[in-house]
Amino acid sequence: METFDIVVIGAGPGGYPAAIRAAQLGANVAIVEREQLGGTCLNCGCIPTKALIAASETFAHIKHAAAFGIHVKEATADYSGMVAHKNKLVTQMRGGIKQLLTGNGVKHLTGTASFIDRTTLDVSGTRIGAKKVIIATGSTSVMPGFLPKSPRIVESKAFLELDKLPSSLIVMGGGYIGCELACMAAQCGVKVTIVELLEDILLLLDADVRREVRTHMEKNLGITIRTGKPLEKDEAEAAEMVLVAVGRKPVTDGLNLQNAGLTTNDKGYIEADEYGRTKVATIYAIGDVTGKIQLAHYATAQAMVAASNACGQRAEKHDTLVPGVIFTSPEVALVGLTEEEAKKTGRGIATGKFRFGGLGRAMAAGETVGFVKWIADAATDQLLGAAVVGPRATDLIAEAAVAIRAELTARELGKTIHAHPTFAEAWMEAAHAVHGECVHAAPKRR
């Protein structure tokens, strides 16, 4: 029986970085994956959706190119061509991960890992020893039980495998996955309806941010959004296609956790602390299966910490400031506390907002929808949170994340010289607005 210092189960954005980091630290590492390398992120999540969204955005830009004096006759979107681009990209990136793993001397095993005991695993019939195990098995889409089984009722993974879009689509669930795919489909000409049980879509966002995205989705993309009412069974049956995006659940089937002395919590997640440790000393867990924040970059952050802790490095905790990005049209991103969360902490809050409509670069690019917003502590001026809705939001949030992590004050951020003319200037302007000292916005009416 071959024995490894560390065996990582699952090769998604949590698992493969953990394996590579552990190998870099000198451990003898194996990684077990029963499907494709790259996990949900690469194969049926972050990357393929962004490939399709890039295509649909390009199509939308072409349709609006006349405003810049560029006339394109009869632009058409060929969805199968978009899918081909996506598939090529995914295959290419899988190869990249394989190379990285091989290059770092990580042994890649294909199969389902299952615990025999704490330090022994069965991988589809082969036994391996593992001094330490890192579980990174991820999550999968939830399908509500009342929905009939039908090729017309799909979750995100199956939806991404379509080679043709329907002419109309009901998206069940107004979370970020549902909204991203709804925008993409709408830009490709699909008549989209989002049905959300709760009182609004994208409820993790502040109301002003939500309103901005929703208005644009409804008015400019023609998406019908219905909230506060469930999707009825007969509606689902009558629809041409239903995309179910109501949440994700952990994947632990086949692991035989009980053989290792591990249990899942009442929601099925494997609990892990900020060091990545589970209740069993030699077993770590990271990513979606831990049920904390289900985002690829959070899994990667957990992975780095768990891998170095598993390799006996000085125990460190992972960071907890996690930016969130949503590739709707317009894009949305947030980091730190929302205004609502900040208010709930009971402290005094000061906010500063700046609309892209007041920014030279945004006007030049014809992308004036949306705004950036800082949420600061009124007493100490500390930047507590930031949100951005509008062009390049998902990239712009990086500056806010650095600023918040560095515990900058709005004053400090406002003093930082931002290049003109850029979208990022909006952060500086909004920081000035926190103190009511914004140059490029009319003063607030008193």
Partner: protein, 438 residues
């Protein structure tokens, strides 16, 4: 400020229950007051509107002083000054407890006191801290505690160059701190030099820790507990004697009483047994100042009751005159009052012997500290099933450990042993309880 209790000279308002401008009916609770022993409610004797609050919560003021005005809105408030906070026993600055900070190298020249002259040179009073405005501004901007700096100016006045020298000496320029952490420290008056962690950048979390660690005033109740118990431990030499009481029969008997609808509790039996034993051993119902001894003619039984905010000891007066049923009723009434914070001061003073019962708290044994002014205290622990030897056989019995703490100035070991065994004997004598309850 109402006077609750004979000895109360000053009190602090805990909370105003009415806001300024709010209507007040006769009998409405206006505010709550913290006295030495508890929190009391102060009711309004008048009807009207609370037009002015003069004393904010947490400020100690003498009793009988004006704390606010009830009248009609718009009515002029009589020109009476707000009462001055009662003088603190010692004006100690509330600061971080820091092991004596290294002193700066630049120190003021020692005042040449009484070297040649017979009259000592005037020395600046340590309470008077003198600093120049520029120096104060610099210290404020650096978020450091300027009072730690020894000044070189006249009368030890701290001037800018002293602050700069201090910053240099402390290696202030090597200090790394996040902007938000510095702002927070400034707002909360935390000296950033005290947060230094070898080379690591000071974060908001470090400042928050320092804020959380700042010493805060204990509640009046805790301060009184601290003072009384310390006094007891320091003045009364304690010694402890423990026995195991076999409660099997009494527990069974009590269960049968309960079934028959009788209210007695095990606590009642223990109290009664103590009262009876005290009559046999009056030295346990006495008190001393170290020179004289006072024999108390009555048994005023104190019962320690634990509350969320601290400990109170309601007292059953003349307990030796009560029947077991009366004892049961009074115990229950006092415990209820204690839990709802409604004990009157006179119901919490004058005990001559105290029982501390932790039976319901799952403890095998503990010792209690004698209530100051008493000769002994009984600590009652949980009743636990245990294997014991009876007539050379191991049997399961329910045992309860009781520990007597005695003041050795009054009582010697042999007496304590006799007392506690007499007590044990009573609790194990089921015939006695049959007589007392029938």
């Amino acid at each position: 400020m109402p006077k609750f209790g004979q000895m109360t000279e000053e009190s602090a308002i805990v909370e105003w229950r009415k806001k300024e401008g709010e209507k007040v009916a006769k009998g409405d609770v206006l505010f709550t007051v913290e006295t030495d022993k508890s929190v009391m409610e102060a009711e309004s004797f008048f009807e009207g509107t609370l037009i002015k609050i003069l004393v904010q919560p947490g400020v100690n003021v003498p009793v009988q002083s004006t704390v606010g005005w009830v009248g009609t809105p718009g009515e002029a408030i009589p020109a009476v000054e707000a009462p001055q906070p009662a003088p603190k026993p010692k004006a100690e600055p509330v600061g971080r407890t820091v092991p004596s900070a290294p002193q700066p190298v630049i120190t003021a020249p020692e005042p040449r006191s009484a070297s040649a002259a017979t009259v000592p040179a005037p020395v600046a009073s340590p309470a008077l801290f003198r600093i120049s405005p520029r120096a104060a501004k610099l210290a404020e901007n650096c978020v450091i505690d300027a009072t730690k700096i020894r000044g070189s100016g006249p009368q030890g006045r701290v001037v800018e160059k002293d602050v700069r020298g201090y910053l240099d000496y402390q290696g202030y320029d090597k200090l790394r701190i996040s902007p938000a952490a510095k702002q927070l420290a400034k707002k909360e008056g935390i000296d950033v030099l005290m947060l230094r962690r070898d080379g690591e950048r000071i974060s908001v979390a470090d400042v928050e820790r320092a804020i959380a660690e700042k010493p805060k005033m204990m509640s009046k109740m805790r301060q009184v507990i601290a003072q009384r118990l310390t006094q007891s431990v320091v003045t009364a030499p304690h010694f402890f004697v423990t026995v195991s009481v076999d409660m099997t029969d009494l527990v069974k008997f009590r269960a049968s009483l309960k079934e028959a609808g009788q209210p007695y509790t095990v606590t009642d039996f223990i109290s009664q047994a103590v009262i009876l034993t005290l009559k046999e051993f009056p030295e346990f119902n006495s008190s001393t100042d170290g020179k004289s001894i006072r024999w108390n003619s009555h048994v005023n039984l104190g019962m320690a009751v634990s509350l969320e905010q601290g400990l109170v000891v309601p007292v059953i007066r003349n307990a030796e005159d009560l029947t077991l049923l009366e004892l049961n009723q009074q115990t229950k009434a006092l415990a209820d009052k204690a839990r709802s914070g409604k004990l009157a001061p006179q119901e919490m003073s004058g005990s001559t012997f105290t029982i501390s019962n932790m039976g319901m708290l799952d403890v095998e044994n503990f010792t209690a500290i004698i209530n100051t002014g008493e000769a002994a205290i009984l600590a009652v622990s949980s009743t636990i099933k245990q294997p014991v030897v009876r007539e050379d056989k191991v049997v399961i019995r329910q045992l309860m450990k009781i520990t007597l703490s005695s003041d050795h100035r009054l009582i010697d070991g042999a007496q304590a042993a006799k007392f506690i065994n007499a007590l044990k004997k009573k609790l194990e004598d089921i015939e006695l309880w049959k007589l007392l309850t029938s």
